[in-house]
Amino acid sequence: MNRVKYFQEVMEIEAYVYTAGPIGTRWLQELKNGRLTAAYCAKCGKLFLPPKMFEPETFEEAVELRPIDDVGVVETYAVIHRGFDGEELKEPVAVAFIRFPGVEGGLVHYVKAKELRVGMRVRARWRPVEQRVGSITDIECFEPV
């Protein structure tokens, strides 16, 4: 690289913290406890996931999380074969959008299955308690029911 024509700079984009907030903190704590929850909007009576303090349709403030079953349905999925720069992954990785009965929204997460299909019912595989940190990754992946 010609050091006069170009010079490299580094922008530390990973050195930030993000405040999970009242709803987010409780949601993550529940994940650590092995429970999947969704936010409840008192105005429209709907559950939505992932939870936010603000319900996007009604602009109502959500203050309550309610437990939901960790069994959902694959609405769509994708299988990652290559990374962003074209490098081949050691093995393909499947990611899906999973919808849960009676809940608006859902979760994007990894799915491990021999054959994936739209409409497949999947259940969360939780990490062992001692490995959970209060993150969406406390669910290791989803698997066929």
């Binding site: 996007p56 994708a78 739209v118």
Partner: protein, 341 residues
Amino acid sequence: MTKVAIVGLGWSGFSPEVVDMSFREMMFKAAQRAYEDAGGLDPRRDVDAFISCQEDFWEGISIADEFAPDPIGGAMKSVYTVAGDSLQCVGQAYAMIKSGLFDVVVVESHGKPSDMLTLHDVMSMALDPISLRPLGLANIHALAALEARAYMAKYGVGPQHLAEVVEKAHRAGLRNPRASYAGRLNAGDYELSPVVVDPLREADIAKFVDAAVVVVLASEAAARDLSDTPVWVEGVGWRTETSTLELHDWAFPLHARMAAEDAYRQAKIADPAKEVGFAEVDNRYSFKELQHIEALGLAPRGSAAEMLLEEPSTQAAACPSTSAAARWPRGSPSKSTASPD
């Protein structure tokens, strides 16, 4: 209320890597061309306001808006930045002129992704920090692939349809001097393209280019002074999706449908499939072209793919979006959707 017209357009770059200019010089060159196109307009004298589309992460410069004025002739004048696509800025300029407070407004947008050594990290940082980012997706295109499959599964769209879109766009690009990735592809070439994130192959995903675009908009009186061939803007609309990806419709771009309806209403277009003679749609992914043709009401929902196969070589009729203007062969400059085509 005044009419609004585009009276000048300029560009710079549109190549995979612009090696001899920074984004600031690319802005300057695009602005020079635009002002010449607008009848030799002097930005220091004739322009009332400037809008620049940019985001700090894409620039590699924090508070990058302070870098906006000089390269486009806007120092010490009314300049602001929009962290969004350039078409949004065209909408902003349109509204400013309609308000009667501004006669001539310049919109600038640029992207120089070849400068970004950690582009995937930057894009990943756009994801929700609680529900999505911790997954550490190996390829951000996976999110588009989720949309692709949802759309394809719901409306019976297959890889043969995507192949046709890819082939047509690359071929059309041969007539566009700014289309860096144009070429003659056939179905066999498409199948040889590696699967990146199933159902998307490498050929389904627009590659990046470095580019800058400047658009000059003017009120009716100013437009008639500056140009013999003003392009009148009859309607503008934009809608922003929910920031929670999980709550959006994976199978159909409702935001585009609603934005189109807004624009059509202003332009008094009741039946776009019959009344619109030409459309340029965003096709940064192959399936997006089909989705957007439908969102614009140029084809019934779920039918663009079959219409494309039935009329593969035509540019008009039901799918008038298939001109040399397609994003794919031209590449994606990230912010500069307003194309110089």
